[in-house]
């Protein structure tokens, strides 16, 4: 009886979370670029072809530890206009998108605090302009097959990829902040699958 009660106590929150989780899937073939800016992981891929048109998408996450011990993270993902991502050139790729103008783009900022008790509050946004350039720097070339799962706050990413890529320098602006990363990668995906699961 006690065991059943414990099981129920465990299952109810789990079922609640499962019932409220939202899952989004992306598939990508072709060009992609990836950067780790300070406190920000960023990915843009050519996406899949639907009705003869590529469906590029953006996927990013940010994180900031606050002085009071709480932390704030944000995430953003969604398909973007085909013209926003130029990845035809193996030496240079670029992205220019205003996410506030992209229908259906998901972005949220959440603050998590543990004192005096666990609380989190989330708001939609920020939306804005992301303008990035990636330039091959000829330092390295790689081929990777990878299964990666990572969790940032309430968002879990699952990624399965088979990629050929080169090292690159990235620079530009991310939602109004100038960013650079000298350890970026840009290359070609052969069937990258990304699953994003967002709890509420």
């Amino acid at each position: 009886m006690k065991r059943n009660a414990l099981l129920t106590l465990w299952l109810v929150p789990a079922l609640f979370i499962a019932a409220h989780a939202q899952t989004t899937n992306f598939k990508s073939n072709g060009a992609y670029a990836q950067s780790n800016f300070p406190n920000t992981n960023f990915f843009v891929g050519s996406g899949d072809v639907a009705a003869g048109t590529p469906q590029p998408f953006v996927d990013y996450a940010t994180f900031i530890a606050n002085p009071d011990g709480s932390y704030t993270y944000s995430f953003g993902y969604g398909n973007i206009p085909t013209s926003a991502f130029t990845g035809n050139n193996a030496q240079h790729m670029s992205l220019n998108v205003d996410t506030s103008q992209v229908p259906g783009f998901q972005t949220q900022t959440c603050t998590v605090s543990y004192v005096p008790s666990y609380t989190y509050t989330c708001t939609d946004g920020p939306f804005g302009v992301i303008q990035l350039d990636w330039q091959q720097n000829d330092y390295s070339s790689s081929r990777t097959k990878q299964d990666l799962t990572w969790t940032n706050g309430l968002v879990t990413h699952g990624s399965s990829s088979d990629s050929t890529y080169v090292s690159a320098n990235a620079s530009g602006t991310f939602l109004g902040t100038a960013v650079t990363d000298y350890a970026s990668t840009m290359g070609t995906d052969k069937n990258r699958y990304i699953t994003i699961t967002k709890g509420n």
């Binding site: 330092y139 070339s141 790689s142 097959k145 299964d147 990666l148 969790t151 940032n152």
Partner: protein, 206 residues
């Protein structure tokens, strides 16, 4: 005529031998299980990858005892490429706590530690030993993100190649320290965690 042909063949053979010698390779292979930390950072205009882990030279590698590090650095001005690796004292890598790890090693004092720096001159990679020196790193978990990663990667960096298999769990981290006398920090590409299974095979020019 026949003598000229023989001389030509001799010169061609000599060039072939020189070319083979220039690209003769040696390799190191490590297996790892247990704690690891990895960072990418920029010092003195060089982009550095530094990896430290519990593990040992693959053959023999009867247990997961031991500790090794490897590094790659590419200089943005000179385009020189540096690669280093070797088994270091266990005490040099403190990793009992997955929230915090630290490294302090003077590679000039580590017997058998390889460091090679190569430049591409007139179509040929010219390499020399070094630099050796003190590397000190402090890794602190930020818990920004946690991840599981299964990965097989083949990478070419200058005249070096690396073949890596990884199966690990990690968390994001903040790294601070000094690399050959210059301070660095990284909070964008640092991870620390546990290798379930890891192997790295590094080929370098001799």
């Amino acid at each position: 005529m026949r003598g000229m042909l023989q001389a030509t063949l001799a010169v061609a053979l000599l060039l072939l031998i020189q070319q083979s010698a220039a690209y003769a390779q040696s390799s190191s292979t490590y297996n790892a299980s247990g704690a690891y930390a990895e960072s990418r950072f920029k010092v003195n205009n060089s982009y550095v990858t530094l990896f430290a882990a519990r593990g040992c030279v693959a053959n023999p590698c009867a247990t997961n005892s031991g500790t090794f590090i490897y590094l790659f650095a590419v200089n943005d001005d000179t385009h020189m490429v540096t690669q280093g690796d070797g088994v270091i004292p266990d005490s040099a890598f403190q990793a009992n706590n997955l929230q915090h790890m630290s490294l302090i090693v003077d590679t000039s004092q580590v017997p058998g530690f390889h460091t090679l720096t190569c430049g591409f001159v007139s179509g040929v990679w010219n390499c020399s030993n070094g630099p050796f020196g003190v590397m000190q790193a402090d890794w602190q978990a930020t818990d920004q993100a946690s991840s599981t990663d299964k990965e097989d990667t083949d990478t070419t960096i200058g005249p070096f190649t690396a073949k890596t298999h990884t199966d690990r769990k990690s968390t994001s981290g903040l790294a601070t320290g000094t690399f050959l006398g210059t301070a660095f920090s990284d909070n964008s590409s640092t991870t620390l965690g546990t290798n379930k299974a890891h192997s790295s095979s590094i080929n370098r020019p001799q």
